[in-house]
């Protein structure tokens, strides 16, 4: 029996369909469920191995992105959720999901202390929503990122700037919990330079994990860069393939994240 994925929806989350599609494309079974239905029947979580909180604008980012939705989970679903994370499961939060996981304290959760809020994902330094393609340098032992060294996928957010104090930052770095950093096209560090680092995140951080690596909080959207036709340079890639008489690969970088999730449960 293959692993099952639960993708959360409701209150302004909006990437649930493409996120579920990504998992299903990689051979996993899964469902989209409204958060109120999960709160009403928390035992539902036992049916799943993978939890995804997708991108969106839960509560319109009012009171700080991801804040209100995290509070809703804290008040109504915290115990079952920590039990879920304690099992051999995988959890991913993408964009708004990343903000929610950070506000819930499911990341970085040093020493598995889930629930402590030590990282903020806040307003982009230029105070502008940014929808653009970025390059990521990936360096992580997380099951989500096995074999992934770089990714070309888009960001789309107004509040994607990771901020934390120096102590938290060094712990994060020393523990190998900084999963991905924004970089230039040639792989060199973005060093905070716009637009390579689109939001001014400290240390160019684009994604972090908990200490086990099983909980991944990532601002860019792998599900929007999983197929070649979704890429910003699709026109060039398909033209080149046509000229050279080669087949255009169907998959792009983002799909690796979901393939890794499927592979984790096949072992």
């Amino acid at each position: 029996m293959s692993a099952r994925v639960l993708v959360i929806a409701g209150y302004g989350l909006n990437c649930e369909e493409e996120t579920l599609h990504a998992f299903k494309y990689c051979g996993l079974q899964g469902d989209i469920r409204h958060i109120n239905d999960v709160i009403e029947a928390p035992q539902l979580l036992n049916e799943y191995n993978i939890l995804a909180i997708p991108g969106g604008f839960s509560y319109g980012d009012d009171t700080g992105s991801g804040n209100a939705f995290a509070q809703k989970i804290k008040l109504a679903l915290w115990q079952p959720l920590t039990e879920f994370v304690a099992r051999d499961t995988l959890t991913i939060g993408i964009c708004n999901g990343c903000q929610i996981l950070s506000n819930l304290g499911l990341v970085p959760a040093f020493d598995r202390q889930y629930g402590q809020r030590v990282i903020a994902v806040t307003h982009n330094i230029n105070a502008r929503y940014q929808c653009r393609w970025v390059d990521l340098k990936v360096d992580s032992a997380s099951p989500w990122l096995v074999g992934v060294e770089s990714m070309h996928i888009p960001v789309a957010h107004g509040e994607g700037r990771f901020i934390m104090d120096a102590g938290v930052h060094s712990l994060l770095r020393d523990n190998g919990q900084i999963a991905a950093r924004y970089c230039k096209g040639n792989g060199n560090p973005a060093n905070g330079e716009f637009p390579y680092n689109p939001n001014g995140a400290m240390d160019d951080i684009a994604a972090i994990t908990d200490q086990t690596g099983k909980v991944l909080a990532i601002m860019p959207h792998p599900e929007r860069g999983m197929f070649t036709w979704q890429r910003d340079d699709f026109d060039v890639l398909k033209d080149t393939a046509q000229r050279e008489g080669t087949d255009l690969p169907e998959n792009a970088d983002g799909i690796r994240v979901f393939q890794n999730a499927a592979a984790y449960f096949q072992e």
């Binding site: 599609h21 319109g60 009012d62 700080g64 109504a76 307003h123 901020i163 929007r224 026109d235 080149t240």
Partner: protein, 973 residues
């Protein structure tokens, strides 16, 4: 008692600095002021639960913010909050959080933002900042110096609660047995209140009021205020489009039926089995076939007047509103793409115009309007999770008083739902009337009129509305992802202009009547009069027709999704429109009279072609500098700051986005793949050339239509699966000359749509885009927006692999121009740069263009074209430069053979329609040339191993320079 929670952004560590502070410091620096700004998010409520940690934890981030910290170390404090009744979205969320945490009472939470400013500023500087950050129509601002702040113990807690005094309001009788002069006054100023004040314009002409008078004489009683207000709404230009419906000159069936609707009918008939239309002009949006399983729908709205006064509110209400047109199509279509379009004055200029003769109420400046409308669509579109890849911004200073704001939504709906056609719906007698979504307040009452008196300080509520995308997102998801397929309702429509009066009235036409109880409508606050509830335009509402056996299930399901649905009445077949209030019938009119009782007003027109002599002037000496100047023209340069702020790849469906090539040039068309399992894509584009109206509105209209078709075809859309939407924004539509221009424009698009075989599926008009105000000396000023006809196109590309971007792909590729170039600089960007209008305005050679597009569609299917750009503003010169920038590749071009002995400047910048520049890889040249052997197809050069655009060896500019000039003008927004 009021409780106030202050959340201060930390600033000890510079790397923690709030992006919002940095933005404001940047604005101040632009005014030569160096200041340090800190932001305090303020929550105020009569609910003491705001003090509880469950609440403060959910509104503050402990990593970056401090709760109720001592506020110190500043020179000025500026607080901006909402006026009573203005939608406060963050406040709503905070109120929800209070309830979620178990607060024991339901007192609302309100938000405001406090700026603590440290810097050498005078009070006037802070007042300036306040003016740029707030809008006095909807917000209050309070400024305190540090000393005042300390002496007064802070800013003080303000609860902007709406309090109405008409607690026992009922329906008043209105006496229509009065002299004509008094009737006219009634139509212009509205029904009189007991204290003699008037309720605001009804917009009913004497002719209409006479018809109403006669009707009630027949009924044997006096009408009530709610009946008069209902007729005013239902018969308004906004709802009945009376100018388009009225007999005009020899056209007895009116412009709409005679031209727009007839074009579609004739095209559908001609195409027979190949007809792509499924639902046209009858629903909230138009629908065409996408594939065997789905329809795509499209609707483009305008939101001009509201955007002039509150650009953010106007634009967000517009985009969220047009999303509802999509949800209200058939049984409910899923919004899959948004469009936007702005016609604005130059944002770098300041204009001294006022709304009042005393010059105390200045108009909003163009940069404020631009930033506001851009932000409004950003908030509305992004929060709704709908990609916004498609749009345009056109500049002309005559839009200064009345900006045009276009918003559109494309929907996707199964062709069959529960065994029934997805586009079909009908309210049946016996079905319950269910209102879904937000509650009703005084929002938007007499929305079109904006009386300044009503908006003065102390006004209890407001006519300006702000959209609430999350309330809508909740029911939008519930409808299109869950409820629709349960088959619980018979019909659905949106609440837009006219609110319930219009949505219930329209749905009841299908059943043959309705009976509604206004006491059942959920309200935002008590004390509203029945007529106000009935015509309120409070946003985020849908109206459904639900069989009685399904209402409980439907309401319970919506509740589980956090949405409020309420039964407020019943659809009947009584032939009457009936409303009850406090147990009494306060409205009881014939449905026929309500919908068809308005008398015809025949219109008469005249037409004089505009334009002047073609100018004579010497040939420019420096072509390179000229091209760079042209690229800096606002209608040609990049508007990248808009596109990057709009989420254009949510839903994972983006194929060809707003930015194309390494050089990120903004294309005219976009392609979206809305169904993962289908290779097909939706191609969107549009066209408009308002300045051509100065010479000939027919040319203006036809050129825009051609551009809309051509851009979509150039990107790969199938010419035979392409439909159009018309948005007509006119001015002074009570003047015969303007009506003559209108008739000519509409006649023009009728002919061209027929010639192309591209049907109109939906449209909207806005007839009075005139600003009437005063200059600084109190002299009256009237500024009319140029007559503007926007044509939007929606088409299908059979396989997204066949899409064609505008960026050249490889060195050595051959460059062609398709379509002939003529001496047509009249109304062009080039002439405008030189200060001329000219006479030779472009028109469309329909037969040649049609043949070209047919050939092109074939070529696109065979994938012989590597890149393509439609030629528009700035002619061949701008198009070639955009290609070079997009591909970051040099081009060697020779235009000597393109247009006989036409002088090079005119050849480069003439805006002749029907042209596309393409690049073709050498191995495909033969196949390409064969496909285009029956049309104008001229080889003009190749993609070069250089870093320059070289035209005729006369114009040589580095790509880097082109890039800079193209991106420079608006890069700081």
């Amino acid at each position: 008692m009021a409780f106030r929670i202050e959340i201060l952004a930390q600033n000890e560590d510079i790397s923690f600095k709030d992006g919002r502070s940095i933005e404001i410091e940047h604005i101040l620096r632009g005014q030569g002021i160096s200041a340090d700004v800190r932001i305090v998010d303020v929550y105020t409520s009569e609910n003491d639960a705001v003090k509880a940690s469950f609440f403060t934890d959910s509104v503050a981030n402990p990593v970056t913010q401090n709760i109720n910290a001592r506020l110190d170390d500043f020179d000025w404090a500026l607080e901006i909050g909402f006026l009573p009744g203005v939608t406060d979205n963050v406040g709503h969320t905070a109120s929800e959080l209070l309830a979620l945490g178990g607060a024991t009472n339901d007192n609302e939470c309100y938000t405001s933002r406090l700026y603590l400013i440290k810097g050498d500023m005078k009070r006037a500087d802070v007042e300036n900042l306040a003016a740029s950050l707030s809008n006095t129509l909807i917000q209050r601002n309070v400024i305190k110096s540090y000393d005042e702040f300390k002496a007064q113990g802070g800013m003080g807690a303000v609860i902007p609660k709406v309090q109405l005094d008409n607690q026992n309001a009922g329906a008043d009788e209105v006496d229509l047995d009065i002299p004509d002069a008094m009737l006219e006054k009634l139509g212009k100023e509205g029904i009189a209140n007991a204290d003699g004040t008037r309720r605001g314009p009804l917009g009913l002409s004497l002719l209409y009021l006479k018809a109403i008078q006669a009707y009630f004489k027949k009924e044997g009683r006096k009408p009530t205020d709610i009946e008069i207000e209902t007729l005013a709404q239902t018969w308004s230009e906004h709802c009945k489009h009376t100018i388009f419906a009225s007999p005009i000159d020899e056209v007895k069936d009116g412009l709409y039926k005679h031209y727009i609707k007839r074009a579609t009918m004739e095209i559908r008939e001609e195409r027979g089995d190949d007809d792509i239309c499924v639902s046209v002009f009858s629903d909230n949006a138009g629908g065409i076939i996408f594939d065997d399983n789905y329809l795509i729908t499209d609707k483009v709205e305008t939101h001009n007047s509201p955007s002039a006064l509150d650009p953010f509110g106007g634009a967000i209400t517009g985009i969220v509103g047009v999303n509802r047109d999509c949800l209200g199509f058939g049984q409910g279509a899923k919004p899959v793409i948004n469009r936007y379009g702005y016609c604005l004055a130059d944002p770098r200029k300041a204009f001294r115009y006022f709304r009042d003769a005393k010059a105390t109420m200045p108009i909003l400046q163009p940069d404020t309007i631009m930033k506001g409308v851009v932000a409004g669509v950003e908030a509305g579109g992004n929060q709704s999770g709908i990609p916004t890849p498609q749009g345009f911004t056109v500049f002309d200073d005559r839009y200064v008083g009345k900006p045009l704001v276009f918003v559109g939504t494309i929907g996707l709906i199964p062709r069959e739902i529960n065994g029934k056609p997805g586009h079909v719906k009908k309210a049946n007698p016996g079905d319950k009337i269910v209102m879904l979504g937000g509650r009703v307040g005084r929002d938007g009452i007499h929305g079109a009129t904006f009386s300044s008196v009503a908006l003065d300080e102390g006004s209890p509520a407001t006519a300006v509305q702000i959209g609430d995308p999350i309330t809508q997102k909740k029911f939008s998801d519930a409808i299109v992802k869950e409820v629709r397929d349960m088959g619980l309702y018979s019909a659905i429509t949106d609440n837009g202009a006219g609110g319930l009066s219009s949505s219930v009235g329209e749905m009841a036409e299908q059943s043959g009547g309705f009976c509604l109880d206004l006491d059942l409508v959920p309200l935002k606050y008590p004390g509203m009069s029945p007529w106000e509830i009935w015509i309120s335009e409070s946003q985020e509402r849908m109206t459904l027709a639900v069989p009685p056996e399904n209402t409980d299930k439907l309401i319970a399901f919506f509740a589980k999704r956090g949405c409020e649905a309420t039964v407020i009445g019943e659809y009947t077949d009584s032939g009457r429109a009936q409303i009850n209030w406090h147990g009494e019938t306060i409205m009881d009119m014939d449905m026929d009279f309500l919908h068809d009782g308005l008398p015809e007003t025949p219109l008469v027109t005249s037409f004089t072609r505009g334009g002047e002599q073609e100018p004579e002037f010497p040939e420019p000496a420096d072509y390179s500098a000229l091209l760079c100047n042209m690229l800096e023209r606002l209608n040609i340069c990049s508007k990248e700051f808009i596109g990057t702020q709009y989420d254009h790849n949510v839903q994972g469906s983006a194929v060809l986005g707003p930015f194309q090539g390494k050089g990120r040039v903004m294309g005219d068309a976009s392609i979206t793949r809305p169904v993962f399992d289908s290779l097909k894509g939706v191609v969107l584009s549009q066209g408009l050339f308002p300045r051509y109206s100065d010479i000939d509105t027919g040319s203006m209209a036809r050129s825009g239509l051609d551009m809309a078709v051509r851009s979509a075809v150039a990107a790969g859309a199938d010419f035979f699966q392409l439909a159009l939407l018309d948005n007509i924004c006119w001015c002074s539509s009570d003047e015969p000359e303007r009506l003559g221009q209108l008739k000519r424009a509409v006649e023009g698009i009728y002919n061209l749509a027929r010639d192309y075989g591209t049907p109109f599926i939906s449209g909207k008009d806005s007839m009075f885009n005139d600003f009437k105000g005063y200059d600084e000396n109190g002299e009256p000023v009237k500024i009319s927006a140029p007559p503007t006809l926007l044509t939007s196109s929606i088409g299908v590309i059979p396989d997204v692999m066949e899409s064609i971007s505008l960026a050249p792909k490889a060195v050595g590729d051959v460059v062609y121009v398709l379509g002939a170039t003529h001496d047509e600089c009249g109304g062009s960007e080039y002439y405008d740069l030189l200060g001329y209008t000219g006479n030779n305005v472009p028109d469309v050679d329909a037969e040649k263009a049609r043949l070209l597009y047919k050939c092109y569609t074939k070529a696109a299917r065979k994938r012989v074209i590597a890149s393509a750009i439609p030629v528009g503003y700035g002619g061949l010169g701008a198009a070639l430069a955009k290609m070079a920038i997009a591909g970051q590749m040099g081009m060697d071009i020779n235009l000597a053979d393109v247009a006989g002995d036409l002088r090079l400047d005119k050849l480069l910048f003439s805006e002749t329609t029907g042209r596309i520049i393409v690049t073709v890889s050498p191995p495909r040249v033969k196949a390409f040339e064969k496909l285009f052997n029956r049309v104008y197809c001229k080889r003009i050069g190749h993609i070069a191993y250089t870093e320059k655009l070289n035209i005729n060896n006369v114009l040589k500019v580095d790509i880097a320079a082109l890039d800079e000039h193209y991106k420079k003008p608006l890069k700081d927004y």
